[in-house]
Amino acid sequence: MIIVEGLQKKFGDNEVLRDISTTITEKEVVCIIGPSGSGKSTFLRCLNLLEEVTAGVVKIGEVTVTAPKTNIDKLRQNVGMVFQQFNLFPHLTVLENIMLAPKHIKKASKAENEKQALALLDKVGLAAKKDEYPARLSGGQQQRVAIARALAMNPRVMLFDEPTSALDPEMVGEVLQVMKDLAHEGITMVVVTHEMGFAREVADRVIFMDGGYIVEQGSPAAIFDAPQHERTQAFLSKVL
C-alpha cells in the first residue's frame, strides 16, 4: 500500500529525516512514536507531500508520490489527513465542512453528498451538531468532525498527526474511540501519537523514531515489553 525508500528531508541545513525506508501494507494500522523533534510528524507530512521531499521515493498504491509529474491533488483524495489543530473551516457549518470536498471534487449530487455526510457524522456520534459552526464545538467534537471530513472522500489511507495532543484530557478518549472503530473497519492508518495505550491496543505495528531515523519497529508487544534498542528503552521508560 505505502512504500517508502530512502526518504530524506532537510529544512535548510537541518536534516530532519535522514534515511527512512518502510512498507505499510493494506489495512495495517501503524503507530509512530518517538520524542518530539524526532521527525515523526515530518515523515507523515511527506507521505501526502505537505512537505517537499529532499530525496527518496514514496509510493502509495500504484502512484509514485515523489515523481515530478504526479497529480498530487488526485493522490490526496485517496489519503485523508487529520491534524493536531483540527483545522476545520470556521466559516462553514459542520455539515458543510464534510460536504465541501465531495461537492467540488467529485461533483457529488447534493442529496447523495448530504446523505453520506450525515452517515459519517452519525459514525463519529455528532449527527445532532450538523448545523453548528466549529467554534461552538469542544476540541474533541471538532476533531471527530475533522475525521468525518477526511473520510468523506473515501480515502484508502488515513494519516493522523498527533490527533489528541491539543485536546483536554477528558476529550482524548472519545477521539481515540472513533479511531479504534476505524481501525476495526480495516482502513489503512498511519498514526503519529503520544498515546502509548492506544498504540499498544490498536496498532499492528509500532515504529519508534529518533533523530530522523527509524530506530526500531515491531509488534506492540515487542516494542513495549521487550525493546531492543537502548534509545527505545530510554524513551519508553520516560513515557510509560
Binding site: L50, R76, Q85, L100, A101, Y133, A152
Partner: protein, 218 residues
C-alpha cells in the same frame, strides 16, 4: 443680502449634480480597484517571483508618489506621450482605480496571510486544488477580516476624488468652487460641501459595521 439658507437652497441642484458625479466615479473606481487589488494581492502572495516583482513594483510606485501627481500624469503626460486623448472623467477613474487598487492589494495580501496555514493544509490534503483552496477556504475567511480596512480605503478614495477638481471634473468640490466664483458665499458653500461628503462617508461607516456584525463568525 440673501440669507444663508437661501444660498444653500439655490446651490443645492448644482451641488447634488456634483455629488452624483463623485459617487459615480467612486463606485466605478472602487469596483475596478477591487479587481486590481484582488489580482495584485494574489500575485503578491504567489511563489512566482516575476508575478511578485510586478505586484510589488506597482504597489511601491503608487504608494511612493502623491495622488495629485498620478492624476496629472494620467491626464496630461500620458496622452501627450502616447498621442491620444483621454476624457477628464476617464482619466480620473483610471487614477483613483490605480491608486486605490494598490492599497487594496495590500489589504488583500494582509488578509490572505492572516489565515492560519493549517486551513490551507487541510484544504489541500482533502484534494482541493490551489485555486479551489483559495476560492472556497482562504478568501471567504480573509474577506471578513478585510472589511474594516476595505471600508477605510473606500472613505479615503471618496475624499481623494476631490483632487479631481484640478483636471476640471465637475464633481462635488469643483461644483462648490464654481458656485462660489459666482456668489462669493464661501462659508455656506464649503460648509454644505463638507456636510455632503460627511453624510456619504458616515453612512458607509455605519453600513460596514452592520455588515461586519452580520458576517462575523458565530
Amino acid at each position: 443680502m440673501m440669507s444663508s439658507w437661501q444660498v444653500i437652497v439655490d446651490a443645492m441642484p448644482l451641488l447634488l449634480q456634483g455629488l452624483w458625479i463623485t459617487v459615480k466615479i467612486v463606485v466605478i473606481s472602487l469596483l475596478i480597484a477591487f479587481a486590481i487589488g484582488l489580482i495584485t494581492g494574489l500575485m503578491n502572495t504567489s511563489s512566482n517571483k516575476i508575478l511578485k516583482f510586478i505586484a510589488t513594483l506597482y504597489i511601491d510606485i503608487i504608494r511612493g508618489t502623491p495622488l495629485l501627481v498620478q492624476v496629472f500624469f494620467i491626464y496630461f503626460a500620458l496622452p501627450a506621450f502616447l498621442d491620444i486623448r483621454i476624457p477628464a472623467e476617464t482619466a480620473g477613474i483610471i487614477a483613483i482605480s490605480a491608486n486605490a487598487g494598490a492599497y487594496i492589494a495590500e489589504i488583500f495580501r494582509a488578509g490572505i496571510s492572516s489565515i492560519d496555514k493549517g486551513q490551507r493544509e487541510a484544504a489541500r490534503s482533502l484534494g482541493l486544488s490551489q485555486v479551489q483552496t483559495m476560492r472556497l477556504v482562504i478568501l471567504p475567511q480573509a474577506f471578513r477580516r478585510m472589511i474594516p480596512a476595505f471600508v477605510n480605503q473606500c472613505t479615503i478614495s471618496i475624499k481623494d476624488t476631490s483632487l479631481l477638481s484640478v483636471i476640471g471634473i465637475k464633481e462635488l468640490t469643483q461644483s462648490g468652487e464654481i458656485i462660489i466664483s459666482t456668489n462669493y458665499r464661501a462659508f455656506e458653500i464649503w460648509g454644505t460641501v463638507g456636510v455632503l461628503y460627511f453624510i456619504i462617508i458616515y453612512g458607509i461607516s455605519r453600513l460596514s459595521r452592520v455588515l461586519e456584525r452580520r458576517l462575523s463568525l458565530k
